[in-house]
């Protein structure tokens, strides 16, 4: 990053940092395994946001202010850090340890160990299947709550239908529904609030 962009980055950062932190919270809430080494979800979110800032300062990521706003740029950096962490061997190990802790004391696992039926890899796969199940339950709950949240609101109904049909960008949804992009933004915020009130984050 050249010195002019670096100056702009440092000037804008304190102003947008609340937004960055909030985005970090959303990301960590979506992927709670990321918070495994932290005392709390909030601490993990703060560490994620700080790590993104450090990566930019160290030149690992280059911000182009002519192409993307700082908040969205840092959100992408955070998502990349989080995804890399979740794919790391440490994450797999922690996931496995959590699984073993959950299983301890059950007759089945002790018997399996004695018989040599399960090795660590098998346990990892079992855990992965369990995680997939939990993730699919989480997704199903969000879908149910999104449909419920849309209720009889015609604009939210159009928004949710467009997402069901495969749209994920505001411009696509605007084109598919006839809503303006600003209406799509507003409807998305409304849906977010309703999902939050129903206990789900999007």
């Amino acid at each position: 990053m050249d010195s002019k962009t670096l100056g702009l980055f440092k000037e804008q950062l304190p102003r947008v940092y609340r937004q960055v932190l909030a985005r970090a919270v959303v990301l960590v809430q979506r992927h709670p395994l990321y918070a495994r080494g932290s005392n709390s979800m909030g601490k993990a979110a703060e560490e994620l946001a700080q790590e993104a800032v450090v990566r930019v300062l160290d030149g690992d990521r280059t911000w182009d202010p002519t192409k993307v706003e700082l908040v969205f740029f840092l959100k992408e950096v955070m998502r990349s850090i989080l995804n890399a962490d979740l794919k790391s061997p440490a994450a797999a190990k922690d996931s496995l340890n959590g699984d073993q802790a959950n299983e301890s004391g059950t007759a089945g696992s002790g018997a399996d160990e004695r018989l040599g039926v399960l090795d660590d890899r098998d346990r990892g796969l079992a855990r992965s299947a369990e995680q997939q199940l939990l993730e699919s339950e989480r997704c199903a709950a969000i879908v149910d709550r999104a449909l419920d949240a849309a209720g009889t609101d015609p604009v939210l109904g159009k928004l949710v239908n467009a997402i069901v049909e495969g749209c994920s960008k505001s411009a696509e949804i605007a084109q598919a529904t006839g809503l303006s992009v600003d209406q799509v933004y507003e409807a998305t915020r409304k849906l977010r609030r309703r999902l939050s009130a129903r206990g789900s984050r999007s």
Binding site: Y17, R18, V26, V54, D58, V143, I163, R189
Partner: protein
């Protein structure tokens, strides 16, 4: 809702919803709620982040100084290393070669009427300095 997603497409639906949600800026009240839920004091957190920025900048500065110091020591070693003796004619020829390789604005300046009048020792030192600068792209 006329068309509900099947269970198999739930994950895709959520992925699209999250993509859309990421695109839409959070309003202040949403930010407040998220931070409150996570137990984050934005002001204190911003101060911690700025302290971390200062730490990173200090580390980077120390690394730059350490690198410059290594380069300086290496340059001194090169200058101090015994050089093959060159005759005055060879030194003048090398100097002419260096001068011809440089644009008029970058010509080396020295307080000699003509380099021919310089002592062999001074000339040797001057040419060595120029060669060192050229090797570092600073001549």
């Amino acid at each position: 809702m006329k068309k509900e997603p099947t269970k198999n497409s739930d994950a895709e639906f959520v992925a699209r919803l999250e993509t859309l949600s990421d695109e839409v800026q959070l309003k202040d009240d949403e930010v407040d709620e998220l931070l409150r839920e996570a137990g984050i004091d934005a002001q204190a957190s911003t101060e911690r982040m700025l302290a971390r920025v200062r730490e990173v900048e200090q580390r980077q500065r120390a690394e730059r100084f350490a690198k410059a110091e290594i380069e300086r020591k290496a340059a001194l070693e090169r200058l101090g290393a015994p050089r093959a003796r060159r005759s005055k004619a060879e030194l003048l020829s090398r100097l002419a070669e260096i001068r011809s390789s440089l644009p008029p604005g970058d010509q080396p300046q020295a307080f000699y009427r003509g380099f021919e009048a310089a002592s062999e020792e001074d000339l040797e030192s001057f040419v060595a300095d120029l060669e060192e600068l050229l090797s570092r792209g600073k001549a």
